[in-house]
């Protein structure tokens, strides 16, 4: 059953965040007898709290505290991440591709691209494959482990028909962490269509209803929800000693720790490292490379909708179970480097009304809305070049309700990304046009759900924040345990890779704790 550790217990591992990174690491450590205190800023929801209502769940799940967007990141909400037990696995749509072999060697494979900070990962697919195997089994990813792919929805059938007409062949309903039949105590998907509002029947995998309860079944897991960590505490020898946090009653507390693992998603992880600066680390913790917060990537993304000649009712079915992989290869003859995927996308009418056309209104727009059930949609995800000037920084004056400087998210498209978006949007348009679509809509520059790169791994401490295990180069007992670790983004959805990295990090951390090297 759940543990309760004393604030002065120096033997615990503190994990900040309970999402794909923090939740996975929590589970792995606690089932191996390592004492874990997991501090999650958001509340803990029950299955009954999850309803089929986009707006209500958006307000319940999202990190709504102010972040400032700059450049191509929208100012009001540059990042769409979650503030809840389960982290961003609460709203993820459960797409689970593996990185391809060449995507681990992005720098070598793509060659020089001006004004980017591409590197190769410090290991490759052969190292990651066993962890991917475990993760796919844990999550019940369709198309692996003898789990059937999900059945094709109307929106998928339109995508597939159009894709085939323009010559694409690598199309299926995608590797999804959504049960196609009952498995692991979770029911099969009912095709309700509210995946990004949380799955109200737990057919979609999240850490909230899987890794967290599994951790709690051990005697080594102490989860404290509504506990906002404000600072990582350090001693004079450059070792992390614990964290300061504001608990669920607004009381400031300090939890001692043997190891601190930061899994707060890119924005909060960066904020914490920068805000915790000391005399020894005047530029922020673990930031001797000056790369903390930099190399921020969010995948090249664009939503494409088309008005079809007949009803599609895209809302009937999972939001994203479908993929076209033909363009994922590196092929500079297309006018850009690296690759992308198109995957299925559906939105509810409220979200469509808000975003289909920027600031859309008036008679034509209302008429368009009345044809909502004829819309079909896909979304592009593509390799996003790391650029040093794409970064998370602290606002010089503006602070939040915790008294912490507000995060500024600066992101500008690389010319390669614009070429990729133009190409991909044109392909999507051709797909739908081939079936008789009459009108097309593209949405760029929305709040990013894939946030990566700001504490990247690497073998060289001059150009990376962490070693290949996610242990920071500068501070032995400070780890980064989320998507901040990615040195390159790959073409598509990162969560399976985050989970697999954590399985690997856990192995290393457990061994290091046992042999006393940390």
């Amino acid at each position: 059953m759940a543990a309760t550790y004393d604030l002065n217990d120096e033997s615990v591992v503190v994990i900040i965040g309970s999402g794909a990174g923090g939740g996975t690491l929590s589970r792995q450590l606690s089932i191996n007898g390592v004492k874990v205190v997991c501090l999650e800023a958001g509340p803990r929801l029950t299955l009954g709290d999850i309803v089929n209502d986009e707006t209500e769940m958006f307000l319940k799940l999202s990190w709504l505290d102010r972040r400032i967007g700059n450049g191509d990141a929208p100012d009001g909400m540059p990042v769409w991440s979650c503030k809840t037990v389960g982290g961003t696995t609460a709203h993820w749509t459960a797409n689970c591709p593996r990185f391809r072999e060449y995507e681990f060697n992005a720098d070598s494979h793509y060659g020089d691209m001006d004004d980017t900070n591409f590197v190769d990962w410090p290991f490759g697919l052969d190292e990651m494959a066993p962890y991917y195997d475990v993760a796919e089994n844990m999550l019940g990813v369709t198309g692996t482990n003898n789990i059937p792919l999900l059945p094709p929805s109307n929106n998928f059938k339109v995508m597939e028909a159009g894709a085939k007409k323009i010559g694409y062949t690598d199309i299926d309903t995608y590797h999804m962490a959504i049960n196609s039949r009952p498995r692991d105590g979770r029911p099969a998907c009912l095709q309700m269509g509210f995946c990004s509002s949380g799955c109200a029947i737990n057919a979609k995998w999240t850490t909230l209803f899987n890794h967290i309860p599994q951790a709690e079944q051990t005697d080594f897991f102490d989860l404290r929800a509504e506990s906002m960590v404000t600072k990582i505490l350090m001693d004079d020898e450059g070792k992390a000693t614990g964290v300061r946090y504001i608990d669920n009653n607004g009381v400031v507390k300090e939890q001692k720790a043997r190891v601190v693992c930061v899994a707060a998603n890119v924005v909060e992880t960066t904020r914490l490292l920068l805000n915790s600066k000391t005399e020894q680390f005047p530029n922020g913790l673990a930031n001797s490379s000056d790369q903390v917060g930099r190399n921020y990537m969010r995948h090249v993304m664009s939503q494409i909708f088309a008005l079809m000649p007949g009803e599609v009712n895209m809302y009937k079915g999972t939001q994203t179970a479908g993929v076209i992989r033909d363009e994922v290869r590196h092929d500079p003859s297309r006018g850009f480097s690296a690759g992308f995927q198109l995957h299925l996308l559906s939105l509810g009418p409220e979200q469509v009304a808000k975003t289909l056309v920027d600031n859309g209104w008036g008679k034509n727009y209302a008429d368009l809305m009345e044809n909502y059930n004829k819309l079909a949609g896909v979304i592009l995800t593509g390799e996003d070049p790391p650029q040093v000037e794409n970064r998370i920084t602290l606002h010089p004056t503006e602070t939040d309700q915790y008294g912490l400087p507000v995060a500024v998210v600066t992101y500008n498209y690389h010319p390669n990304s614009i070429a990729m978006m133009d190409y991909a949007e044109d392909k999507a348009r051709q797909m739908y046009e081939s079936l008789g679509a009459t009108d097309f809509f593209t949405i760029r520059n929305f709040g990013a759900t894939h946030n990566l790169g700001t504490a990247r791994i690497g073998n060289d401490p001059a150009t990376s924040v962490c070693n290949s295990w996610g242990q920071t180069h500068d501070i032995d007992n400070l780890f980064i345990s989320d998507g901040s670790l990615f040195p390159t983004s790959g073409s598509a959805n990162p969560t399976l890779t985050i989970i697999s990295l954590m399985l690997r990090q856990a192995d290393y951390l457990i061994e290091s704790l046992e042999n006393g090297s940390i």
């Binding site: 089929n52 109307n154 009937k316 909502y372």
Partner: protein
Amino acid sequence: MINTTRRQALIAITQLIASTTLMSCSSDASKTVEVSDLETLASVSYDLFPHQSLPYELYIEVAQRLLALDDSLVTEGLASLHSASDNQAWIDVPEAERIQILSAMARSGFFALLRSTTIDVIYKTPEMFDLVGYGGSAIEQGGYINRGFDDIDWLEAVK
């Protein structure tokens, strides 16, 4: 210009709802609901998303919600509308002119609030769901796995 019958109907509905609101607010003497403000906001909301077959009450609800915010953005927005229309009653302003005035303020904070409030109110109603053929909450009826999630019938003809 909205036709006379419709104009009379709009005024009648708006006044009915306004008087009901006033009655329920009568215990709070400091709250007053200007019928003309309600009328204007409802009409502007309709101009933004003119769904003819939706009950007009929904647009009045948008107006009530905006007025209840007690936000200077709303009072200033109303003032802008009145001055742009030479203080004519908004629903008496010809449609083309109304659209022109609204286009000029389309990037304002007032417009953004008006737009988002209108969407928040009307795009979640059973009437709108019927209009666009949206099913709303799906869990009560077991999702769409047995309710047409894959029943598309016109693709064969165009494949």
